[in-house]
């Protein structure tokens, strides 16, 4: 098969798709958030957002090789939490402390025995973006579409068999963040992935720094200024000033609204009822849901 990879630039990717749809030939398109691959009768054209360094693939290969010998963790995707907040009204908070776990996912994989020390050290030597991409590759998820005569005739999802190791790191990060939240007490503001934001309570900061150190995770602490929250019907927007190269720079950050347990439950119920009208009993569906 003839293969070619190009950077997504101008409208090359879109134009290629439009062309294939217009001429009506059968083709396959496999896309993720970062790449799009077209397969047409012996030809493969790949478009990527950015070219990754050889080192990223080397990191990924090392991680994957270590994970081969490990049992795949069981993860409930619906229980994964990337962010937590309880912002309900507009508020100006002022000074705020941000504590970030460094290389959180890689450190978790190492501390919990999934990857070897050499692999961990090799990952940590690279820049942040490289580390993120290499570990993120574990959870690669692609949508596969089959086109004919310009229309999608079938689709399926291709999920990496190492995805659960990545989600394990997500789950453990959330557990650690949950613990830090407890230690913050009233100083707690919000959590975003591997970072926690709190009011300038030095005692709370001491408690969380002591805890992170005790469980063996590297972290960084930053002081932010002029922190404020604006609430709209679709999101909470957080603004703050952050010191970047000796200057205070404004950083806006959107936080999605937290879906309530009621909403989750009702949607589950709606889908169960719909399936039950397709000859499956409600009790079958509930027991299926619980056993997932």
């Amino acid at each position: 098969m003839s293969k070619r990879t190009s950077l997504l630039r101008g409208n090359n990717g879109r134009a290629f798709l439009t062309y294939l749809k217009e001429i009506g030939v059968p083709f396959e398109m496999i896309c993720s958030n970062y790449t799009t691959v077209f397969k047409i009768d012996g030809l493969e054209r790949k478009f990527v957002n950015s070219m990754q360094s050889k080192r990223v693939f080397a990191c990924f290969a090392k991680i994957k090789s270590d994970l081969k010998k490990k049992a795949i963790p069981v993860i409930d995707y619906e229980q994964l939490r990337y962010f937590v907040h309880d912002f309900k009204k507009n508020e100006h908070i002022g000074d705020v402390i941000n504590v970030d776990m460094k290389s959180a996912y890689a450190t978790i994989l190492y501390n919990d025995g999934f990857i070897r020390k050499e692999t961990y050290e090799y990952i940590c030597k690279g820049p942040k973006q490289e580390r993120l991409v290499a570990v993120g590759m574990l959870a690669s998820k692609k949508q596969h579409f089959v086109f004919d005569k310009g229309k999608i005739i079938s689709n399926d999802e291709i999920v990496s068999d190492t995805a659960n190791f990545f989600y394990y790191a997500v789950m453990r990060t959330a557990e650690i963040m949950g613990q830090l939240k407890k230690l913050c007490k009233d100083a707690y503001l919000f959590t975003w992935v591997d970072g926690i934001y709190l009011r300038p309570d030095v005692k709370a900061l001491e408690r969380i720094e002591k805890y992170i150190t005790s469980i063996g995770y590297p972290y960084s602490t930053e002081w932010l200024r002029d922190f404020s929250v604006r609430i709209s019907s679709k999101q909470a927007t957080v603004d703050f000033l952050k010191m970047v190269k000796g200057e205070w720079v404004k950083k806006p950050f959107n936080l999605p609204l937290v879906n309530t347990e009621f909403k989750r439950l009702v949607i589950e119920a709606i889908l169960i009822n719909s399936k039950s009208k397709n000859n499956e009993t409600i009790l079958d569906q509930i027991s299926k849901g619980k056993s997932k």
């Binding site: 101008g10 409208n11 079938s154 119920a269």
Partner: protein, 215 residues
């Protein structure tokens, strides 16, 4: 003399005539069986006639809403009344809107589309859309947002009606496509954050951009 022995013949007779016979005519096993039959018949009648009340509004048992609340309560292991009592405000909102709205991250939304029961339909901007096309629209939107801005997460506003049809609402989809095309044609600079500002204000989606990249 009251009948005591529960023979198959008597059992079948009692089942047919549970409210016609006199209780005093039976004793022992036969009486116990008759009492059980009457009790379960009464409970079934009560269940059939039962309704749920939220504030002053009665939700009839044969309504979609009642079925949804009943199943939700069953998942939670609660009675319908207790479930409604604990979630009164949310149930009232559901009664008014007839739809339940959630924000879902791209990969979760694609999972939701894939696991939607076959009988249910998907609408994007109120237009019925096939599953493959819906997934393609969502994936394509997210990829472009991530490619041309510092977006790291896209959450979509998704709603379900009570029968399980799914509605994805991205009203400014065409304007977004126009802006992307302007960048692709070189008529707009992708570094000037115009597309990100547009996404931040766009209805139906919440984008989270990397604070490290945005300015």
């Amino acid at each position: 003399m009251p009948k005591r022995k529960l023979t198959p013949k008597l059992k079948s007779f009692l089942k047919e005539n549970r409210f016609k016979v006199r209780q005093a005519d039976y004793a022992g096993d036969a009486l116990q069986y008759l009492q059980r039959l009457r009790k379960s018949a009464k409970a079934a009648k009560k269940r059939k006639e039962s309704t749920a009340k939220v504030g002053n509004v009665i939700i009839p048992r044969d309504s979609e809403l009642y079925e949804v609340l009943e199943t939700s309560a069953a998942i939670k292991g609660e009675t319908v009344a207790a479930f409604i009592r604990k979630n009164k405000k949310a149930v009232q909102a559901l009664m008014t809107d007839g739809r339940i709205v959630m924000q879902r991250e791209t990969s979760y939304l694609i999972n939701d589309i894939n696991r939607l029961p076959k009988r249910n339909k998907i609408y994007i901007n109120e237009v019925e859309t096939g599953r493959g096309d819906a997934i393609y629209t969502v994936q394509n939107f997210t990829s472009q947002a991530m490619h041309y801005t510092s977006t790291v997460v896209v959450m979509y506003e998704v709603s379900y009606d009570l029968t399980g049809n799914m509605y994805i609402n991205i009203p400014q989809l065409e304007e977004f496509d126009d802006l992307v095309e302007m960048i692709e044609e070189g008529d707009m600079d992708e570094d000037d954050n115009e597309l990100l500002d547009f996404l931040n204000d766009m209805e139906g989606v919440v984008v989270v951009s990397s604070p490290k990249k945005s300015s």
